[in-house]
Structures are given as C-alpha cells and as structure tokens.
Symmetry: C2
C-alpha cells in the first residue's frame, strides 16, 4: 500500500504540472505507456489508396458477402459499437453462434496476428475467414462468393482499384484490410493526458500505476497495451492457439488483447462469458498474476481503462452496387 | 402503335429542345408526372430538428432495438440498398422470415399510409411495429425495449430532444419517423429531364408514354408515381388490407407502391416472389390492365422505370450509446 500511495502522490503532482504547462507530457507515466501511434503498419503488397478504402468500406458493410444476404462484416464488428457486437458469441448464418467472442476491428491494424488464436498473420488473411465459415457468412466456396460480387456489380469497382480482371478473393480481402487500417481510435483521454493536453481523474491515475505495479503491463505493454504475443490464460475449456499449431505447449494460449477501447467491448474474454469490466479485471489479476485485488483497486483500474476509450472513425454509409431490376440469389 | 410513335417523335423533339434550352421543361410529359417534391409532409406533433433526426438515425441503425441485439431497422431497410434488403421476405428474430416483402424506407415520408396493407397511418406508427413483431425484433413488451434503451444510455439523448423523462416508446417512434423524413432520393434522371436539366434515353421516353397510354398511371400517378390509394391486386393468396379492416371489400387490396427507385428494390410484390422488374411489369399489365405487353414495350417501360432511381441520402454512421464496462442483456 505504501508504494501505491507514493505513486498516487506523484500522479497528483504530475496532474498539477500538466495543468500548469499544457503541451508538456506529465511525469510519472509508467515506462512504455504512451499515446496511440499516429501511423499503422501497411503491408508492401497492399498500399493504401482512397479508392481502395472506399471499396473496402462497401465490402465491409455489404451483406452481399454472406450466402444469405443477411450477414456483413459489420454485423459482428459494428462501426457503431466500437468494432464489436457486444454479444458473448456472435449470431451468424441461420442464427448459429460463433465459437469465440468477436474481437474488435478497431485498431486491429496494429496487431501482429489476428483472431484470438492468431491463426491469421494480418488483416487481409483475417478477412478471408468469416465468408468461408459455415457458422458466419457460410459461403460454399470462394467462387460462389466472387460470382455473387460480380452479379451485384462489383467488377468495375475492383477494376478501378486493382486493374483488369481483378475481382477475386485476394483483392476482396486486400480492400477490406485497407479499410480496416482506417478504423483507428485516437485521442483517448489517456492520450491527451500523456501529451499534456488534458487530464484524467485521480482514480484513473491510481489505476494507471496499479496496473504497472502488479505486473499487468508486462503483457499489456506499450502504447497499444499489448505486446502482441501469445500468453497462457488458464480459464475456460478453449484450447486457444493449440488448436492452430497442434503444439501442446500452446494449450490455452491466446493473443494478448489490447486495452484500447476495452470499456466499450463488453462482454469479455474469448468466450464472452464475463459481462463486466470489473469482473474481468478481477479474474485476470487472479489467474494471470495470482493477485486478489481490493474493491478500491478494481475501481481505480477500471477508471484507468476507461481513459483508453478513443475517438471512433467517422464513416459515411456507402451505397452498395446492385443490378438494376434484378434480385440476387440468396440461399439459406 | 401510331400513337406510340407519335409520342416518341414529340419526345425526341423535346429532348433536342431541352438540350438547346437547359432549364426549360420539355413538352410531352404525360399529365401529372413531375419531379420529386422538394418538401415532405411533417406531422404537427413531430416537428423536425437536427438533434431529433440524429437520435432517429442512431435508433434506426442500432440493433439495440431488438431483443437479440442483432436486428436493427437497417437490417431490413438497409441505407446501402435503397431502404430494402433485396430479400423476398426479410430475415428476423431467430432467422424467422417476415410475412411480406420489406417495403423501402426511402421516400416513405410521402406515403399517406405505411405497410403493404396500410395498417399504420404514418411513419411514427410504422416504427412501432417491427420492435413488437415476434418474427422481426421480437421484443416482449414496450417496457422491455425502453428498459434496454435506458441501460444502453439513451436517456440523455432523448432528454436533449424531448425534455425531462422523455425516453418512451412514442418518442422513440417520433425520432425514427423524423429521421426517415430525411431519407429522400431527389434528382433521378427523370427529375433532371422534367426540369430541363438532363435527358433520358429514347427507350425511356417511349416507356414514359406507354405507361400513360395503357393506364398504369391511373394509380401510379403524379410525381410520386402512386396515388396513395389501396387497389385490388388479384395475385397470390394474401388477403392484403382485408386482414386489417376485416372488410370483404378490402380482399386483396394493397397500397399502390411508388415507382421511385423501383429498379433498385427487387424482388417484387408483397410476397417478393418476382425476381426481375421486366417480369413484374408484365404481370402488373396483365393482372391490372388485362394487357399483354410486347417484349419491346417491356424493355421501354423498364428503361423508363430505371430513370426514377434518385440520389440516396448521405448518412454518417453514428456511434451508439453503450454503458462503459457492461454488456447488455440480449435474449434469444
């Protein structure tokens, strides 16, 4: 408790200093913490362009990607709810439930692997998963999906971005990946605080120090609050990364989730079984760090995590291509 | 055929005149046809305001209106596909199908009754239907829905628009109705043509005359291409308006659908069983007017109907209120 109070004192002084000299980063920020990076990594074979992100936006929001015509990327990664659907496990084709909680698409451009088990190295690989997943969009084949995109009228939109005869599964994924690189949430209260442009509450500052002191930030480290590794989480019956690698050493290993916008992405964990952030904080401290948090500590940590809620991207709802005078052939 | 050709000649001359004198309405437009009105009727008890339409937009796009958290107004009346979902019958709660084809929300502000059977006098009444419909959003009660909106954090947004203690079912419907009054699609090629600002094809002009000559525009009349009445349509087994009034005289009566954006709202009719516009045109001419159209006439009429596709509204995707650190209680 002594150390906790001493850090609190530092945090209070820092806040006063921050208010006195706007633009000066406050002292006392735990090592590694910082504002959300202003640039995202972009793969060499998928450069960004306005036309490509616009096409990606259409594909992201258009339920034409699903066999039924009912499910879009946005169904489970809703732009209005921080890139998630706030469901424990998402509703997919014929009301089937997904196997794991839908991770947010917001800031996913920063992760070095996608999915809870990291089975996709980057956004382009991830985007190919749900269309082919029988409990999600349930397309029978890539060919079936591409034929439907052609029938909808996507061919000229692809050709404008990727050139002649370019409507294919790889380019679909590239366009979606490019759009997802725009789903970044800067300027969280914490970001303003570390840049000396705003303040956070005393409770949030206590929480900020607490997560460093007890060791959360060994994995939830840096400005992204994830070190982009896989770590064992002995909670629930899900094999995690072992189901991808077949390696017993990967049993119950999961990608370390970022804390960015974590307050807005309930429910929690890979099974979505934990409905509140305080409960998630308690469980993580106990399971990962063998630490029983006091009620006051939980309040402070949650107050800190809430300062990591950024500013969502502004997206204009697109018009989707459709053939004049013809219905598409949806299937159940 | 003579008359048809003579009108074509007039239309051609008109087009030339139109090009020569931009801004001059061309001659030869059948009586009553005109550009989409620039104002919509607004009920005295629900005046428009920017804050109200913004709230209505959130409610329209937010799946929080459904018991499952999966279905929004936009699921079946998608802003990206001209206010419809292009399904024969929409997918609702637990993948149940609706009883009739989802009518478009675009320009619905102009109709004097809502739903195929006109059971709702205006948008505000219509908006109350789907939340309570067990095959659509499936809320158990208005109270359950309002409690969920409160839990999501909608209270201050309602109070900003409607005043203290105003989060209730009536005001929810008013906000959605106000938003829907912004879903207007002006500046179709036909509108530009009648305003002397653009041209339409020779085929479209032939089709324009044809629909007047054979009598389609007795009901599909005026700038809205509907006279906002109920008419008998002896097609299919649906009772239509009789199911609302209980009156045998209303058997198989349906609201006359507007032709505005009809090319983009396939499939057709109250059962959504007709997949193409040419087929719908043929059936209507036969069933309503006892007229067998030639293939050439169908091509011309479809060309004309395609000129009624307007400019969809630009909508910025909203952020929905959600409680920090808490999941809502969705139910199946």
């Amino acid at each position: 408790m002594k150390r906790y109070i001493s850090w609190l004192a530092i945090a209070c002084m820092t806040a006063a200093a921050g208010l006195a000299q706007a633009g000066e980063p406050p002292a006392g920020i735990p090592e590694g913490m910082g504002a959300l990076p202003s640039t995202v990594p972009v793969p060499a074979d998928n450069p960004m362009s306005a036309a490509k992100t616009e096409l990606g936006k259409q594909l992201y929001l258009d339920p034409v990607l699903s066999k039924s015509g009912h499910i879009s990327c946005n169904s489970c990664h809703n732009l209005g709810t921080w890139g998630v659907d706030n469901q424990a496990r998402s509703i997919g084709h014929k009301w089937q439930r997904g196997g794991r909680n839908a991770p947010t698409s917001f800031n996913a451009a920063f992760w070095s692997a996608q999915f809870w088990d990291g089975r996709a190295p980057q956004l382009e690989d991830q985007a190919k998963g749900p269309p082919m997943n029988p409990v999600e969009m349930a397309d029978d084949s890539e060919e079936q999906l591409i034929t439907r995109l052609q029938a909808a009228g996507y061919t000229p939109l692809f050709e404008q971005v990727f050139g002649k005869n370019s409507l294919n599964f790889d380019n679909m994924a590239k366009a979606i990946g490019a759009f997802e690189r725009t789903l970044i949430t800067p300027d969280a209260p914490f970001d303003l605080y570390v840049r000396g442009e705003g303040d956070i509450s005393a409770a949030a500052k206590r929480g900020m120090r607490k997560v460093a002191d007890i060791g959360c930030t060994a994995c939830h480290s840096g400005p992204l609050f994830t070190n982009n590794t896989f770590q064992q989480f002995n909670y629930g019956s899900d094999d995690g990364r072992k189901s991808v690698t077949g390696n017993a050493d990967d049993d119950h290993y999961f990608r370390v989730q970022s804390w960015r916008n974590v307050a807005m992405t309930a429910p929690y964990f890979h099974d979505g079984a934990v409905k509140t952030l305080p409960e998630a904080v308690r469980i993580m401290a106990k399971v990962q760090l063998d630490t029983i948090l006091s009620d006051a500590d939980v309040v402070d940590i949650v107050a800190f995590l809430e300062t990591l809620t950024g500013t969502p991207p502004q997206v204009t709802y697109p018009v989707f291509p459709r053939p004049a005078g013809h219905a598409l052939n949806w299937q159940d």
